[in-house]
């Protein structure tokens, strides 16, 4: 157990590489890889372990309000695997494993197709007016296309309110609209 940290000292940190997969990405801004610096000591002054990391991720990295898809009853939700430097965390002491600088922590959901969407959230149709330039190579054909479409954000996007991730929108437009005009 380390000594309790003094409030005046700069808090030492541990650099970590965090990876989410199996559908958990959607809880963390749709990003698979994250690099972060975790405080080396927890609130009680003990070296930071996986249990502390899980709480830290919930409070600082998670962009989704559905915490229960990651943590249940103060522990990692059953069905989520943790690999510490590619090894099953069950071999490393699970939540009590003390993190080392440069550790690679992978969280994989084994739940079918990722966490279930929240029930009871309705899709809000968003009406968008999209204007873009279309350029054809060779003939330099430029034209303005204006269209209005009804975009139904995916359920998990509603947590973002008005800030819909742009990649979903482009994917939606790409799949729905581009084929209609050539």
């Amino acid at each position: 157990m380390g000594p309790p940290g003094n409030a005046g000292d700069p808090q030492p940190v541990i650099p970590l590489k965090i990876e989410f997969s199996g559908g958990l990405e959607i809880l963390f801004a749709d990003e698979r890889h994250h690099s972060l610096s975790l405080p080396a000591l927890d609130k009680d002054g003990s070296p930071s372990n996986i249990g502390f990391l899980i709480n830290y991720l919930c409070e600082n990295l998670m962009k989704d309000e559905r915490k229960e898809l990651f943590v249940l009853d103060d522990h990692l939700r059953p069905g989520i695997l943790v690999l510490i430097n590619d090894a099953d965390w069950e071999l490393e002491g699970e939540e009590s494993y003390e993190l080392q600088p440069g550790d690679n922590i992978l969280f994989v959901s084994t739940l079918h197709g990722g966490p279930p969407p929240r029930i009871g959230v309705d899709w809000t149709p968003v009406y968008l007016c999209i204007t873009y330039n279309k350029r054809r190579s060779g003939r330099q054909l430029c034209c303005m296309v204006k269209m209005q479409l009804k975009f139904q954000p995916r359920k998990h996007n509603t947590a973002f309110g008005a800030n819909l991730p742009a990649n979903h929108l482009t994917r939606f437009i790409g799949s729905r609209c581009l084929k209609h005009e050539s």
Binding site: G22, G79, D88, G93, T110, R154, F172
Partner: protein
């Protein structure tokens, strides 16, 4: 803490702790033991014959990707002489299926297997997106499930293949056993545990070679073999009951990892004791297994049945003039559910759908019945 050594080779660092026996294994030993166990499942239940053409139901998810990879490995290693084909169903859900189909296409190249994609639009004239636009989010899993069941079979028939393997794992089977148990549906329970479903009456047989493989190990296998798989949620309605059963299974696994295989074994043993083997010939719903759809469909059937039952009780009470203060327990006969479900009391016999010719226990198969309702509403939507 010094790294734990593998109990297999005693040389490498252990990276996997097996849920079923707590064995600690290194990457190489784990991969080979996992493959050996699938090989054992295949040979001991005589799933394939040499030269058989087999379609792998591929969704691009972890289970089917691992299944395709393992089958390819074993086919070459043990000389099964199988002719393997990937078969995918395109439900027509934008932002979900189109992405995962890309994964399947990559898999087809990686594993050098031909790929056949059958779409709901070409089979039924409806994509799931259109279905949802018409009927809404509620209950669309029923459509998807009924359609998918036939789609795999029809796809296999188009390829002239009589055997479809699916990626259902031990967790899936345990979950289904539990669900059938909670519904009191022992007939389906017995079917859901069979490794091979479909029988002489149906043209296409189904099997699940990963039946004894833990989902955890499948994910770890995919991870350590660096397989290319796709994971996302279906963007449409989740199925509450299955989700709850799944959470329960995962919580049980946390406390007692062997529980999953124990439930599968219990399911098999209970299946042996079930008298209603006749029902196995009803091919309108496959082995009671399945991804989201089949469950929802069963739930719908269950709802119907319970309504029927209510009606029946009322009639009985009138006829027998029983004293009203006697509370009768809902005891049912051997074929309880089926009896209450049909007015004549006879078991439904297997015939062919009058519309599409697909096997069905009613005069019109479920898919065609659902399509009729959909087509009636088509005027309501403007695309």
């Amino acid at each position: 803490m010094p790294p734990t050594l593998c109990v297999g080779c005693h040389e490498q660092r252990a990276v996997v702790k097996r849920p079923k026996n707590h064995q600690k294994l290194c990457r190489e030993c784990f991969l080979s033991i996992f493959e050996d166990e699938i090989h054992h499942t295949i040979t001991s239940s005589k799933l394939f014959y040499p030269g058989e053409r087999v379609a792998i139901g591929a969704s691009g998810g972890k289970d089917s990707t691992v299944l395709a990879s393992v089958l390819k490995t074993l086919n070459e290693r043990h000389g099964y002489k199988l002719d393997l084909v990937l078969l995918s169903v395109d439900e027509g859900i934008k932002g979900y299926r189109d992405d995962s189909l890309e994964t399947v296409k990559r898999n087809a190249t990686q594993y050098e297997m031909p790929l056949k994609i059958v779409g709901y639009d070409e089979l039924y004239g409806w994509t799931m997106d259109q279905v949802v636009e018409t009927i809404g989010k509620k209950g669309n899993c029923t459509y998807c499930g009924v359609f998918r069941r036939q789609a795999l079979d029809r796809g296999a028939k188009k390829l002239d293949i009589k055997h479809v393997v699916t990626g259902h794992n031990a967790d899936d089977v345990a979950e289904t056993v539990l669900m059938n148990l909670l519904r009191g549906d022992l007939a389906r329970l017995s079917r859901s545990t069979n490794i091979v479903t479909g029988d002489s009456l149906s043209d296409v047989k189904r099997s699940k070679p990963l039946k004894y493989a833990y989902e955890k190990e499948i994910v770890l296998y995919a991870h350590h073999k660096k397989l290319d798989y796709f994971s996302t949620e279906c963007i449409y309605s989740p199925e509450a009951f299955r989700g709850t059963a799944r959470s329960l299974i995962k919580s049980l696994e946390k406390v007692r990892p062997s529980a999953i295989l124990d439930i599968v074994r219990s399911g098999e043993d209970m299946g042996e004791l079930t008298p209603d083997k006749v029902q196995a010939s009803c091919a309108c719903d496959d082995g009671g297994m399945g991804s989201c759809g089949s469950g929802a469909q069963k739930e719908a059937a269950l709802k119907r049945d319970s309504q029927m039952k209510k009606l029946e009780t009322e009639i009985k009470l009138n006829k027998l003039e029983e004293p009203s203060d006697v509370v009768k327990l809902p005891i049912r006969g051997k074929n309880g559910k089926q009896m209450t479900g049909s007015t004549t009391g006879a078991l439904p016999s297997l015939g062919k759908c009058i519309k599409c010719g697909y096997m069905s226990s009613q005069s019109m198969c479920q898919a065609c019945t659902l399509l009729e309702t959909l087509n009636k509403n088509r005027a309501d939507i403007a695309i």
